[in-house]
């Protein structure tokens, strides 16, 4: 039935298009449009220049310099802030660029193009991530992968002669940061005008430390936040050979990615114990960090032009993911005999197959359509890892009789879209997508989603642009076996939102009005609604609304300005039940009304809402004042998130104390001025104002890193909190241009 409907819709569209074509429906009149403004060469040829300056920042009280610099390095001092060298001839072009030289966020790049023959480029890009400059820890971090405590601390806490809160008084302060160094080289060699050989090598090194949790899983043990060492490298190689002409193309490719971690194991001291014990727990914990993995794939792609403005293309990729890292013993606790491993290495391999077949056609001027079939298969061929006797929380050897669940999925997606353009600037689109996913080791093994959509696009008019799209989708899954959920201790009526039944509507529109060429107004409205009809426990709905309005005013070549305001609202409702687990996960107990597990009076909901206000504005005044360029910009984003717990009318659980709203507010203002002394020299000054306000019930600073700061803490924190900042940065610079 569905197929028949699709056929009819497509046929109607095509008939309408054909009729329009026969009637010559396309209007002959074409509106006058503004003549392209005369460009000056300087607009698109980047001038060579170098900016040298000095900068400094003052912080308000209680400011967090680390968060201010989160992905940047804005330390005080001299800086070569920007360097650009560009050479363009009829035969070749090259460029050299550098930013923030000598700082942690420096970037260098260069490119060379011999027109029609070779394109080569290289980039070195450092991306810092500064978590905190006042994090503190008791751990000795000198041996990568092993975090040790002074034995006296462990014994003191174990023997209750020392509290963790007191011990933390001796913790050392350190910077918590990571940095990515990305080297990226590209080469495109055009052996002939129709044949390209491409080569890309990217090497990413990441070093530093980030916050990481460690737990011993025992009710009276201390969960520990630690600076886990990061020292790994990813090397990616992509190469392809492509032939193309005006009739089509063919491409063969290879992609390889190799992840290598220099710290694959983390051993950390248990603050609660100095010696291993079978019941009390181990003196150390040990976990496996990211294992080395390889990914290799080969691909073939091709496209061919067909009659009637049609085109067919195909893409096939076959690859392999593997992980054969040596496995750690079940436990580091020497008081236990670690059970034998099923096998010594992970021995994990997955075959990845992807296909993509596309057909597009524009048989008449008024009709365009495309159809695509996509297959993605992640075929995990790993033999499940059996655990007959395992270790629970490093304290007990138990018979578990479990095995790992190598997750696989096969995803089929079919898309069809047809656009009907009765007049030149308008396109009405109807589209349909059907996606089927088969997966293993999840409570819903198969889902089918049908998506219908319609859109209107009015483009190409100089004074008006309207885009609107509506999409409705329905996802349904194979039946859920409640007993499978019960077997893992879950409520049988739980549904996991990423694979559960879902009805979804989305609508969005953007309107741009340009009454005169100097002035334009834009506005967007979008709504999204997700309902999970079969869900009793879990996420039940998830909605959003987004609005924005702004304008741009460009009265001439010298002045441009534009503010935009946006509002977003996201809401979600989830449900749960506070209850003890069943004595045994059996149907008999599931039908026992005396069990808390079955008592609807213990149900609760969490109704969350995010409201976000965004405002940005900018004004550029270039040479309006003699020899002077001024750019002013301001960004503002304020978000408030609320979480409201609700209970059943006849509840038997205690009334919750509602959480305080979480608030994040970011502001950034910039004034950038430049005065040209001569054609080649300019003096400039930049002022940045940055402010961050935050109030987060879980991540705001606390008085002690031992929480609670009693004799029985549950968490030893690093001190990586969300802190506010107010920063005023000034940079003076001199620019030389040539």
């Amino acid at each position: 039935m569905r197929t028949k409907s699709l056929t009819m819709v497509a046929a109607l569209l095509l008939m309408a298009g054909g009729a329009a074509a026969q009637n010559g429906a396309t209007p002959a009149s074409q509106p006058d449009v503004e003549k392209t403004p005369a460009p000056s060469l300087a607009e698109f040829v980047p001038p060579n220049h170098i900016d040298i300056g000095i900068r400094g920042t003052s912080f308000g009280s209680n400011s967090d310099p680390a968060r201010y610099q989160r992905y940047r390095d804005v330390r005080d001092g001299g800086t070569v802030d920007r360097f650009r060298l560009f050479k363009d001839t009829n035969g070749y072009r090259y460029s050299l660029q550098a930013d923030h030289i000598g700082y942690r966020d420096q970037r260098f790049s260069g490119s060379y193009t011999n027109f029609g023959n070779v394109k080569a480029s290289f980039e070195w890009n450092q991306v810092p991530l500064f978590y905190s400059q006042d994090t503190r820890t008791l751990y000795d971090m000198s041996n990568p992968g092993t975090l040790t405590l002074n034995d006296s601390i462990q014994s003191g806490i174990q023997n209750k002669t020392l509290t963790l809160a007191n011990a933390l008084g001796g913790s050392s302060v350190f910077d918590l940061r990571t940095r990515r160094d990305i080297a990226n080289a590209n080469l495109v060699y055009s052996a002939t005008p129709n044949v390209d050989l491409t080569f890309n090598l990217r090497n990413t090194k990441k070093e530093g430390a980030y916050p990481w949790g460690g737990s011993f899983g025992i009710s009276n043990a201390i969960a520990t936040e630690m600076p886990v060492p990061v020292d790994h490298r990813t090397t990616e190689l992509t190469t392809s050979l492509e032939y193309s002409n005006d009739r089509g193309y063919a491409r063969l490719g290879y992609d390889g990615s190799f992840f290598r971690n220099n710290v694959t194991t983390l051993v950390w001291d248990n603050p609660s114990r100095v010696s291993d014990a079978a019941v009390g727990g181990p003196a150390q914990g040990r976990m496996a960090l990211w294992p080395n993995t390889d990914m290799n794939s080969v691909s073939a792609a091709g496209g061919l032009k067909l009659p009637a403005h049609s085109r067919a293309s195909a893409y096939i990729s076959v690859g392999n993911l593997s992980n054969n890292a040596a496995l750690l013993p079940y436990t580091i606790n020497s008081a236990l005999v670690s059970p034998a491993l099923d096998r010594p290495t992970a021995d994990i391999t997955a075959r990845v197959t992807a296909m993509n077949y596309l057909f597009t056609s524009r048989p008449v001027n008024t009709v365009w359509f495309s159809a695509r079939y996509r297959l993605y298969e992640f075929d995990n061929r790993t033999v499940p890892f059996e655990t007959r006797n395992g270790v629970n929380y490093d304290t007990t050897v138990v018979a578990l009789n479990k095995e790992s669940e190598p997750f696989s999925q096969t995803r089929h997606t079919f898309d069809a879209d047809a656009t009907y353009s009765p007049i030149r600037h308008v396109g009405f689109r109807a589209g349909y997508t059907r996606e089927e996913v088969d997966r293993t080791h999840r409570i819903v093994e198969k889902t089918t989603e049908d998506i219908g959509r319609a859109s209107v696009d009015l483009t190409g008019l100089p004074w008006l642009s309207v885009r609107g799209v509506f999409e409705h989708s329905k996802r349904r899954g194979s039946p859920v076996d409640g007993l499978e959920l019960l077997a893992i201790g879950e409520q049988p009526l739980l549904r996991q939102y990423d694979i559960s039944d879902r009805d979804q509507d989305r609508f969005s529109t953007i309107i741009m009005v340009t009454p005169v060429s100097q002035f334009s107004v834009n506005s967007t409205v979008s709504f999204g609604r997700q309902e999970y009809p079969g869900t009793t426990f879990g996420l039940r709905n998830n909605d959003n609304q987004v609005y924005s309005v702004g304008f741009d005013y460009v009265p001439g070549n010298k002045v441009s300005m534009g503010p935009t305001y946006g509002f977003e609202k996201y809401t979600a409702l989830q449900a749960s039940r506070t209850a003890n687990p069943l004595p045994a996960n059996t149907v008999a107990f599931l039908n026992d009304p005396t069990q808390q597990f079955n008592d609807p009076r213990r149900d609760w909901t969490d109704d969350s809402a995010d409201r976000v206000h965004t405002f940005d504005a900018s004004i550029d005044v270039l040479k309006l004042l003699p020899r002077t360029d001024i750019r002013v910009a301001y960004d503002y984003s304020r978000a408030e998130s609320t979480y409201t717990y609700g209970l059943a009318a006849n509840t038997v659980i205690a009334t919750p104390l509602q959480l305080a709203p979480v608030m994040n507010e970011l502001q950034r203002g910039t004034v950038d001025g430049m005065y040209f002394l001569t054609r080649h020299f300019a003096l400039g000054a930049v002022y940045w104002f940055d402010k961050y306000k935050v109030d987060d019930f879980a991540l705001s600073p606390v008085s002690s890193l031992a929480q609670p700061a009693t004799a029985t803490p549950a968490l030893m924190m690093l001190g990586y909190f969300y802190r506010p900042y107010t920063a005023n940065t000034v940079m003076g610079r001199i620019s030389y241009l040539w």
Partner: protein, 329 residues
């Protein structure tokens, strides 16, 4: 081994498409009519040292005639890659016909002064504009443009790119940066990038094209690397790609189930705050059925404060430890 699909209607869908296309071809033949002048470079005369006779024969007038009135546009084009005649694929390589290789023969326009007698991209339908550009831009990601979301939504090449007066350092964009170009339409994503949890886009270390290819790709959502959203994420976060001895199935299914890559107000760009996010799928197992309310915060429950669930379940992306099925090791 993955269970194969047991009922995907591929055969029916292919049949329907074949019928639809056949109908369309029939209608096209029945209703063929002249369209906007659309000579492609392939239709233009071959490179020749003496093009004048051929030009006259086909209505071409040559660059010199064009730039008599349109000098700034001519200069603008010649300062870009389109003006590099050494590359035989460029308009400039068509001797004295670089303008008309895109705009078509100009004789009628010159003779009449009527600007409707020549191809003006601002007055053409997006698909006609794209057809012109794609007649030469046949390589790499350009080959995927047809069928991409931008093509489906009538976005033309000229919506983002400028042939005569580009503003960007590369890719001949109409704005200085790629982010500015994208946020012209993608306002919601632009707002998300300004939230407290974001990737380093506003810091200039990434831009939209770090993940997306606006011309189209074999991936979903016009993503650049890999075949799925997860493969795109893993192109930078390779450590999390696994596969692990114990995978977190939700993560293997889709990174975006938990993270919003454009930005959010939650730690690590999560789509919801922990522990609420985890509680959306874990109700009774793993002890999350508690209401983590103000009382739990005041008591400094290690399941509520700090990083909440991942204070302990730090291996949430997957674990290679034999005892890591709860993502504690």
């Amino acid at each position: 081994m993955v269970k194969r699909s047991d009922g995907y209607p591929a055969g029916r869908l292919v049949t329907v498409l074949a019928i639809v296309w056949g109908l369309a071809i029939g209608l096209a033949a029945a209703g063929s009519r002249p369209t906007v002048p659309n000579p492609t470079p392939a239709a233009a005369p071959a490179l020749s040292s003496s093009p004048a006779p051929a030009a006259q024969a086909t209505g071409f007038v040559g660059d010199d005639t064009c730039t008599t009135c349109h000098e700034p546009q001519g200069k603008g084009m010649h300062a870009t890659l389109h003006g590099k005649a050494q590359n035989t694929r460029t308009p400039a390589a068509k001797a004295n016909q670089s303008c008309e290789s895109c705009h078509g023969p100009g004789q009628a326009h010159v003779d009449s002064g009527d600007k409707t007698k020549i191809k003006r991209f601002t007055a053409m339908s997006p698909r006609d504009v794209n057809a012109t550009c794609l007649s030469c831009h046949t390589k790499s990601s350009h080959a995927d443009f047809e069928g991409g979301m931008h093509a489906a939504r009538n976005v033309s090449c000229a919506s983002c790119h400028s042939v005569h007066s580009p503003k960007s350092e590369r890719a001949q964009l109409k704005t200085i940066t790629a982010v500015e170009t994208c946020q012209t339409c993608h306002k919601q994503e632009a707002m998300k990038v300004k939230k407290s949890g974001h990737m380093p886009v506003r810091e200039g270390k990434l831009d939209c094209t770090s993940c997306h290819t606006p011309h189209g790709s074999n991936n979903v959502r016009m993503l650049k690397a890999g075949n799925t959203l997860n493969e795109t994420c893993a192109s930078c976060h390779a450590e999390k790609r696994g596969p692990f001895l114990h995978d977190h199935a939700a993560g293997r299914e889709n990174c975006a189930s938990c993270h919003d890559p454009h930005g959010s107000n939650n730690d690590r760009m999560l789509v919801a705050k922990e522990p609420m996010l985890c509680q959306r799928c874990h109700v009774s197992s793993r002890h999350p059925a508690t209401i983590y309310d103000g009382t739990q915060i005041a008591a400094a429950s290690n399941r509520a404060i700090g990083r909440s669930c991942v204070n302990c379940h730090s291996q949430i992306h997957g674990s290679n430890h034999p005892a890591g099925d709860r993502f504690l090791r």
